[in-house]
Symmetry: C2
Subunit: 211 residues, 2 copies
């Protein structure tokens, strides 16, 4: 049984990225870079949370997280991460446009055009009894939250206001969350939630995961 | 020197109230009642935070927090709280429309028509070296945040999604926040921030407070 997680770095007003994402501003405009400061500038203090977010057995991401292009996929784009991306696991990229798999050192990006359920099926098969991480961005995580397909959501809140862009939880509907942990570090607060299925007629998420 | 605080109960997606506030739904539609559950259903566990939010020496609130009417003030409305409101201190109500002060047992509501600075001046004078609390709602707190007039913001985040309504931090601009505390209780997370003045030409908020 695969565990499905999502780790999201958000601002205090809920944004994971600012407006106008581009090649020169992958996370959009505004003070977005500080959202990941806790991972790099305070790694020791946040070692437990960093360890928890690394090391998934498969990843799913939206195509806006994979690259700055829109519309048909740029067939030459190799991702943001250089020849050896940090994933070291299969990555499934949600897209409306096809592309052949991209094999880089340790990581293969597979482009999935038929929806979030299919992508999760592929990722779960790759992960087995391990963990699938919904890597982002906010729109993709919102889609999976809304569908009741995430087991554990970890939110890392940095005290900054971004004011616009891609907001976590926007449009997710009435999902049911249970707070299972939380810790305030010096510059970030870590919150952990178990996500319960939104529909009373679908008491577990397992049925949906297998579709 | 008066300390200016604000305590806000918000959902995980940042809302302090749902849409369509009315006489029968003071906090709007949606699962808004759970935002204050931590104060009533888990009072022992959250005793420190409850003690911190009570007992200000003066309060400021928006007129939508005072009553459900809109437009000219209903001159007969006595507030939501019965003959003895819980404030036991002067309360200044921001409104675009005039009304004579309303004296109830232990609390006098004074209606201020000439803006947030004037209301804060009156409240600071009433509080002296004590504390002024910006009691809400989100729109009023956002106005004071945006103006750099709040010293300490305490946010109490309940794991529920409201999805629309009055959102804390909406439109506040680039305020500078410093995380000064945080604690995860079993059903809520308490976050405390020191708010720094937004403008580099106005290094302290004291000048603005005295206007």
């Amino acid at each position: 049984m695969t565990l499905v997680t999502a780790d999201m770095n958000i601002s205090l007003d809920g944004y994971a990225a600012g407006p106008d994402q581009s090649l020169s501003a992958p996370f959009g405009e505004g003070p977005v870079d500080v959202l990941s400061n806790w991972m790099f500038e305070a790694a020791d203090e946040n070692a437990v949370e960093i360890a928890a977010l690394n090391g998934a057995d498969a990843y799913i991401m939206g195509r806006n997280m994979f690259g700055p292009d829109r519309g048909p996929l740029d067939q030459d784009w190799q991702g943001w991460w250089g020849p050896e991306p940090p994933y070291h696991a299969p990555v499934f990229v949600l897209s409306h446009y096809p592309r052949e798999p991209l094999e880089l050192t340790g990581t293969t990006f597979t482009f999935v055009t038929d929806g979030i359920d299919h992508a999760l099926g592929l990722a779960s098969r790759a992960a087995g009894d391990g963990r699938v991480d919904i890597a982002g961005g906010a729109h993709t995580v919102n889609e999976y939250l809304s569908a009741g397909l995430i087991d554990e959501l970890r939110v890392h809140v940095t005290p900054v206001i971004i004011g616009g862009g891609a907001r976590l939880f926007e449009g997710v509907g009435s999902i049911h969350l249970e707070q299972t942990g939380g810790r305030a570090a010096s510059t970030v607060t870590h919150l952990t939630y178990r996500v319960h299925s939104p529909s009373p007629t679908d008491p577990t998420t397992e049925n949906r995961k297998s579709t």
